[in-house]
Amino acid sequence: MELEIISPEQKLFSGNVYGIQVPGISGSFEVLNNHAPLISTLSNGSIKILITEKQFENLPIQKGVIEVQPHKTVVLVEQ
């Protein structure tokens, strides 16, 4: 799926990924391709970008919002 992570100062990540793990306000959750549309606030923690099934990157955030649409996921973060 297509993923974009944007902060007020710059685009932090943009590209095709396998999935993403985010620290939701009521617990961490994972979004894979074809996830149901969802909007959620994120709390302080770390985003795990799953580039492939096994390879991942971590990204610490303060707070943010995730918007999941059928083929595109946008994460807005404040660092």
Partner: protein, 288 residues
């Protein structure tokens, strides 16, 4: 005569060196302006997406009466966040903003209690003699400017609104149109107005935790973004204004130099003519 010559010469010299300074300042401002414009462009994706998310949340009818950020109250206490620059020599940039602020107070909030939060030194200096409450906590925000500071500022303003210290929060700044024109603007910060979504969204979103708390989390982010944008606009405007002012100053110096050179040449010619007349009349006297 020679005395006058020397005087004109020294005036030409000083005008030239002033012109050199104004030219250099114009160049520096032009470079800074470009950087400031880049910064404005850089925040666009974030603003755009934030707006879209908000629209999606608002798309399906929501009861907004519970959102504290929208609460309209009687105007008893107004907070102005005044964004000016730290430095002068930028034409009417700061004075226009200050003028607009005074005008707004007279027009709209004549009976309300006014508080100022100053961003930038010039606004503070402009209102120093007035009887308004002034807060200078954020005066030096432009030294080491970053998003965290804006965040803090917005947070504090929002707190002030929520605990009913302020009934209205306005941001006064100079909107950036282009390098030559800036528009001093008053923008409503709180209570915020949310435009309802224009088109019905097709997708049914799951809202986590729920719509209301989502809005309550989104709105501060939107507000912070709004101030951030205003500040970036103000910075670009400042450099634009300074560039124009310095360009005009350089032109004026040119004009002055032209006139000075004319009078210098005239004085020189007069001196030569006098000298010649003296020599000729001296020779004539010798011939007898």
């Amino acid at each position: 005569m020679p005395g006058q010559l020397k005087e004109v010469r020294s005036r030409i010299k000083s005008t030239q060196s002033t012109q050199q300074i104004t030219k250099a300042m114009k160049m520096v401002s032009a470079a800074k302006l470009r950087k400031a414009q880049d910064n404005i462009i850089k925040i666009r994706p974030y603003s755009k997406n934030l707006f879209e998310v908000c629209q999606h949340v608002l798309a399906n009818e929501t009861d907004l009466s519970q959102v504290p950020f929208l609460q309209q109250r009687d105007t008893k206490h107004v907070l102005f966040i005044l964004i000016t620059s730290d430095r002068g020599l930028c034409g009417g940039y700061n004075s226009n903003i200050i003028k607009l602020a005074k005008h707004t107070i007279q027009e709209k909030y004549a009976n309300a209690q006014i508080t100022f939060w100053h961003l930038g030194k010039k606004g503070f200096e402009g209102f120093a003699k007035f009887q308004y409450q002034q807060n200078t906590d954020f005066k030096d925000i432009f030294i080491n400017y970053n998003y965290t500071q804006v965040s803090k500022l917005a947070q504090k303003a929002i707190e002030g609104f929520l605990n009913k210290t302020f009934d209205i929060v306005d941001v006064i700044y100079s909107e950036f149109k282009n390098a030559a024109s800036q528009m001093p603007t008053v923008e409503r910060f709180l209570p915020i107005t949310l435009q309802p979504a224009t088109t019905k969204m097709k997708t049914d979103f799951i809202f986590e935790p729920d719509k209301l708390s989502l809005l309550n989390a989104l709105i501060p982010a939107i507000l912070t973004n709004k101030i951030h944008k205003a500040i970036l606009d103000a910075q670009a405007s400042e450099h634009g204004a300074r560039m124009t002012a310095m360009d005009k100053a350089s032109d004026n110096a040119n004009e002055l130099l032209k006139n000075l050179k004319v009078s210098y040449n005239r004085a020189r010619q007069a001196a030569i003519t006098t000298e010649l007349t003296e020599i000729v009349s001296g020779a004539a006297a010798l011939k007898g």
